[in-house]
């Protein structure tokens, strides 16, 4: 790779990395500041800017290829001698993710110009889509944990606004709120992880941290920090128990679901796990693995009984993310990333294809002035004749999801299984392996069910509608993504995952026996699916469809108690705290009344008493001047007698 080494020029690298990051932000800025009259310009401008961003990403990737970790230093602000960075860390993982994020975002932008044509708020849509791309690339490029956190929250914000795009629909807003809130709960844990890291290593830079930790002995704080950071991962990547926002997020437009809730944002958690792999102690990794596989199982079961095609895909995403997290839990972060990449392509393809179906049936609905839920599988069926192209893309990406050989999904699932088997050295770990195989079985089942439900059989409600394939601008991205679901994108040998992509030292060893077993397992599952879903769905269950009523538990044991507590504090504030103040006020007035009484009766009373004394004394002495002559005589005589007696005796 000597040629590429010559290409490495730090300034070029920095420029192109900045371009990749900032071009989508420019798209956001234009969309935000331009007036509604020029909305059509935004619809043209946004995909173009993201295309430019994609090209810069490719340049960056090409420059970095084979050169290890390249830093791009951009200081943010300095406090007490420590400079928080806003710089980039470019290594194989990040440039790969960069290209994928830009590519999928670009394809979704192009698709959206067709899907969202005629939407009154198209400008707002593309504005936030650009902002999302910016924030997601920020996560990918960031070289320190604080930047990751900043962009992490911004991605959550963008996701929230995009889910709530159709803001007049109450369910959409509720779903948006739920998404942000559950992400926030995860982020609170992430914040505690940040605090732990800061107080124990004094730095946020990923490379500095790795160095600092290499010297230190493995301490309890690392497990705590790792688990706290995993909290953030669980929120963003929809792991148990914070995954309930993802099915509800399907209220947003389908391209948004494709970009954010399949390919990129939810993958950010896996990406973070890989970035922070050095902090995960074995104990933390065990927790991660268990959480991952539990999520995978629960979501796969739930997917089996959904009627809404987007919800099936949502639960499928959660399940696949669970597998990725489980793989990460074995320490094989590269394997998790491989599955992330393959999943990004085939899941985005699935979502966009589902979007094509929804779009096509919706158009037919409009013309015929009918109304039924286009996303409900029970209304669809037999659409293979009407939408052949979409049928094919569904089959291609669905096969990748199911892990059928010759498709990308098979390779990455293989890798996960070998990683798991390599890791399983004692009792409970084998359970995880078994569960993983169970999940892959279920994956085949629900994928088959979905494709069959939409395309096989005969048309029912849609029979008299005019349904046609969506325009080329929507079909082209889907085709590209479907193409990427096939094996040769990732490895030359369709059965071995060691290809040009997987370059990590922790390559799981390749067992031919495993390959054969998994091939047979998938075929068995296909056969079982064909058999089980001949007629009705035996997995029809309200329990599964409502994900074991997890949402109701949250509502009952978390949301309502918090609201009750807030009502209590409000009453406490009003009755007791304010009551004490009012009591002191009343008390003070009472004391004032008492003092007034005291003043009036006792003090003034003494004054008045003195006056009264003077009055009665005067009255008494005045009585001597009664005007009665004889009394005068009497008193005079008496006094004389007393005087005489006194002087003479």
């Amino acid at each position: 790779m000597a040629d590429t080494a010559l290409l490495y020029n730090p300034t070029t690298l920095q420029t192109f990395a900045l371009l990749t990051l900032l071009l989508p932000l420019l798209s956001f800025g234009i969309g935000a500041l331009i007036s509604e009259r020029y909305a059509w310009a935004v619809t043209l401008c946004a995909p173009f800017l993201v295309l430019l961003s994609l090209i810069s990403a490719i340049v960056v990737a090409a420059t970095q290829w084979g050169l290890g970790t390249l830093p791009v230093a951009i200081p943010w602000f300095t406090v007490y001698g420590y400079t928080f960075s806003a710089g980039f860390m470019l290594n194989a993982t990040s440039v790969c993710m960069l290209v994928i994020v830009s590519l999928v975002s670009f394809l979704v932008h192009v698709y959206s110009t067709g899907y969202m044509a005629g939407d009154a708020a198209g400008k707002r849509y593309f504005t936030m889509l650009g902002f999302f791309t910016f924030a997601m690339q920020g996560i990918v490029l960031a070289d320190n944990l604080l930047s990751i956190f900043v962009f992490w929250e911004l991605v959550g914000f963008a996701s929230c606004t995009l889910i709530g795009h159709w803001k007049d629909k109450p369910q959409a807003i509720v779903a948006a709120k739920k998404a942000f809130l559950l992400n926030r709960v995860g982020d609170a844990g992430f914040m505690v992880g940040l605090m732990l890291v800061w107080s124990n290593t004094g730095t946020f830079g990923l490379q500095d941290m790795a160095l600092a930790l290499a010297d230190q002995p493995v301490g309890g704080w690392q497990t705590a920090a790792a688990l706290c950071i995993f909290c953030g991962v669980a929120g963003k990547s929809a792991q148990f128990p914070l995954f309930t926002w993802l099915p509800d997020a399907m209220e947003g437009p389908t391209p948004v679901s494709a970009l954010i809730h399949a390919a990129t944002m939810v993958a950010a958690g896996i990406f973070l796990l890989a970035r922070m792999s050095f902090i995960f102690t074995p104990a933390a990794l065990d927790v991660v693995a268990i959480t991952g596989i539990l999520t995978a199982v629960v979501a796969a079961l739930a997917a089996l009984s959904q009627h809404d095609i987007k919800k099936i895909l949502a639960y499928s995403t959660i399940s696949q993310l669970g597998l990725m997290v489980a793989a990460a839990g074995t320490g094989a972060f590269g394997v998790a990333l491989l599955h992330l990449v393959t999943h990004a392509f085939f899941k985005a393809c699935l979502f966009l294809s589902a979007g094509s179906v929804i779009h096509a049936v919706h158009q037919g609905q409009h013309q015929a002035h009918k109304s039924f839920d286009v996303q409900d599988m029970r209304n669809l069926g037999g659409l293979r004749k009407r939408l052949p192209f979409t049928y094919i893309t569904f089959i291609l990406s669905g096969s990748a999801l199911a892990g059928i050989p010759f498709f990308s999904g098979f390779l990455s699932k293989e890798a996960i299984f070998s990683a798991l088997i390599g890791w399983a050295d004692n009792g409970w770990r084998w359970l995880v392996v078994v569960a993983a195989f169970g999940v892959s079985f279920l994956t085949v089942l629900y994928t088959y069910r979905m494709i069959r439900g939409i395309f096989a059989g005969d048309e029912t409600v849609t029979a008299d509608l005019a349904i046609a394939e969506p325009p080329v601008i929507m079909r082209a991205p889907v085709a590209l993504l479907a193409g990427a679901s096939v094996w040769f994108v990732f490895a030359l040998n369709p059965f071995v995952c060691h290809g040009w992509f997987l370059q990590y030292p922790e390559l799981p060893p390749h067992h031919t026996a495993l390959t054969i077993f998994s091939t047979l397992w998938v075929l068995l599952a296909l056969g079982a699916a064909g058999y089980i879903f001949r007629s009705r769905n035996p997995f029809e269950s309200a329990l599964l469809r409502n994900t074991f009523y997890l949402d109701s538990y949250y509502e009952k044991y978390i949301v309502r108690p918090v609201l009750a507590v807030s009502g209590v504090t409000n009453r406490f504030d009003y009755k007791w705290l304010d009551g004490m103040i009012h009591a002191t006020a009343y008390g003070q007035v009472t004391v004032a009344h008492f003092v007034a009484w005291f003043d009036r009766v006792i003090i003034d009373g003494m004054v008045n008493g003195a006056a009264g004394l003077a009055r009665s004394t005067g009255r008494f002495t005045r009585s001597f001047q009664g005007g009665k002559i004889q009394l005068y005589i009497f008193w005079a005589v008496l006094t004389i007698i007393i005087f005489l007696i006194w002087t003479l005796v």
Binding site: W76, F77, T78, V79, Y80, L146, F149, V150, F151, E153, L154, F157, G164, K167, D168, K169, P170, I173, V174, A176, K177, F180, L181, R184, V185, D187, A188, G189, M191, V192, L194, M195, L196, W198, S199, N200, V562, L563, V565, S566, G567, T569, N570, D573, L577, D578, I581
Partner: protein, 539 residues
């Protein structure tokens, strides 16, 4: 010109108030223009101050003039000076006050009742606020501190809502109680501190600078660090700290001394709410950082866990109450209680990050809560109804307003990219680091405080969902014609505040540069002096 900038800031509004009193009351516009001119003039002075600010130089623009010197023979000399200056703590708050006063003047444009009295009081309030943030003499500070209460009382009592008499009296008496406690401490300090620059003759001084130096205490005075007397469970210095703490905590406001705030905010007119939330609350934090902590550092260290716990309680309690609030202004008032809890936590941590975060939070919350109250005012001006449940789907009729609300709410809940996030993360880092860095607090405080993040998101998003999204519907007899989008004046108020919040979230370095030297000095002073004094008191 340079040295007199602070006096310009303080006395221009006072002179303008005097001029306003002399102007006839019929010309309403002239009062508005006068006040606006004063505010713009103050803004210009502020710009000059910022341009000549030297971050490394500590206190700047210091003015010192003899004010009261009373020779009392054998009892020494009473000396109170006109001593003003700004440093890393005061400058952001002075800047905040100038900006917020300008916004408040713009918001006061629609006051129609007794305009002369209103703007006169507003100008007096302006002067008092800036005086409080710059005074370095305790008596002068106390003077300005008290001076703020009376205009506020009248402003709420005359131009406020239905329960304004109750709210204004409650506000006035409650904060006056705090002032009395501060007065007691001040008098004690006056008798205990002497001016070291005058030899021979004993000069009692009110200067905060002299009070912060532990060597200036007169021996055998009540606050002499070498010879304290125990009064009950604590010694005299700790009692003084507690008095100062409670006095300023009432203004902060800290739970459980906060109940005056919801009533004052709900009943006050919009511009007054803006000033109350954005500026007056910060005096509490400023007082703690300027007076309580530096003068009694060992008591501060002794009580740091208590202060931090009260901060955390304020964060959680304020957020929970905000969730249960039915009135939009009450919700924002309680969210202010919650955010000021962060300031307490940051100060209690006595770490550079924590203290920087606390001052940053004071500035950031000032800007953001000003924006929030202007937003509440926009709605109230139109419909005179603040009940959250009466509104639904406002985004259709008021799209620009919805965007502003989105910005304000997300800034307030600490979304990165806004100044609130910078402040909160520094406080979290400082508070979590404190146990290992200087042996104060406990990690659990910072962990529990993160619940404020989740609760903040919860009540703000819920409010947005209820009021702005969904189908358009008005209850409570609000006519639909009263819902129209922002006018130019409202844009003029909201956009600068939003830009400030965004600017200091993306590019915090200028503000951090201003605060950092202060935070460092504060931390060192409190920790070192506190530990030394603590050692002498408890050998």
């Amino acid at each position: 010109m340079q040295p007199y900038l602070i006096s310009l800031l303080i006395f221009t509004p006072l002179l303008a108030a005097l001029a306003a009193l002399l102007m006839p009351a019929e010309t309403k516009t002239s009062f508005r223009i006068l006040t606006l001119a004063v505010n713009i003039f103050q803004l210009l002075v502020l710009v000059i101050m910022l341009r000549s600010w030297d971050a490394a130089a500590g206190l700047q623009f210091v003015e010192q003039k003899d004010w009261i010197t009373l020779n009392m023979g054998s009892w020494g000399t009473l000396q109170a000076q006109y001593l003003v200056g700004v440093d890393g703590l005061g400058l952001p708050l002075v800047a905040l006050s100038v900006v917020v006063m300008l916004i408040a003047t713009m918001a006061s444009w629609t006051v129609y009742k007794n305009v002369k009295g209103y703007f006169t009081l507003l100008l007096i309030l302006n002067a008092a606020v800036i005086g409080s943030f710059t005074a370095l003499d305790f008596l002068l500070f106390y003077l300005f501190f008290e001076f703020m209460l009376l205009p506020m009382f009248f402003l709420i009592a005359i131009w406020g809502g239905p329960r304004r008499e109750y709210a204004s009296i409650k506000f006035f008496l409650y904060t006056l109680l705090g002032s009395i406690l501060i007065l007691i401490a001040m008098i004690g300090l006056y008798t205990s501190v002497h001016n070291p620059n005058t030899t021979g003759h004993l000069v009692h001084t009110f200067s905060l600078l002299h009070m912060s130096d532990a060597n200036n205490f007169i021996s055998n005075s009540i606050f002499d660090p070498n010879n304290v007397r125990m009064i009950g469970p604590w010694n005299a210095r700790e009692w003084a700290f507690l008095f100062l703490f409670i006095g300023f905590a009432i203004k902060l406001p800290m739970v459980p001394l906060h109940t005056w705030l919801p009533d004052a905010h709900v009943e006050a007119p919009t511009p007054i709410s803006v000033i109350l939330a954005a500026v007056l609350l910060k005096i509490g934090g400023y007082g703690l950082a300027r007076i309580a902590f530096p003068i009694f550092p060992e008591a501060a260290l002794h009580f740091s866990s208590f202060v931090a716990v009260m901060g955390v309680i304020s964060i959680a309690y304020g957020a929970l109450n905000a969730m249960a609030a039915k009135d939009l202004k009450k919700l924002i008032a309680y969210s202010s209680v919650s955010h000021m809890g962060f300031v307490l936590l940051g100060l209690a941590s006595v770490t550079p990050e924590g203290v920087t975060g606390a001052v940053y939070q004071m500035f950031s919350h000032g800007v953001i809560s000003a924006m929030l109250f202007v937003i509440a005012g926009v709605l109230y001006d139109r419909t005179h109804d603040r009940t959250i449940n009466n509104y639904s789907g406002l985004s259709g009729r008021m799209p620009a307003y919805t965007v502003m609300v989105l910005i304000a709410f997300f800034a307030s809940l600490g979304l990165p990219g806004f100044s609130g996030f910078i402040a909160e993360i520094m406080i979290f880092l400082g508070a979590f680091k404190a146990p290992s860095a200087n042996g104060l607090l406990h990690e659990a405080f910072a962990i529990i405080a993160t619940s404020g993040l989740v609760l903040g998101a919860a009540y703000y998003l819920w409010t947005m969902q209820r009021m702005f999204f969904g189908p358009f519907n008005l209850k409570g007899g609000i006519p639909a014609e009263s819902i129209y989008d922002l006018d130019k004046r409202e844009y003029g108020m909201l956009i600068p505040l939003g830009v400030l919040a965004l600017l200091f979230g993306i590019y915090p370095q200028p503000l951090v540069d201003i605060i950092d030297p202060f935070a460092r000095n504060f931390t060192e002073a409190v920790l070192n002096t506190g530990r030394n004094l603590g050692a002498t008191l408890n050998p």
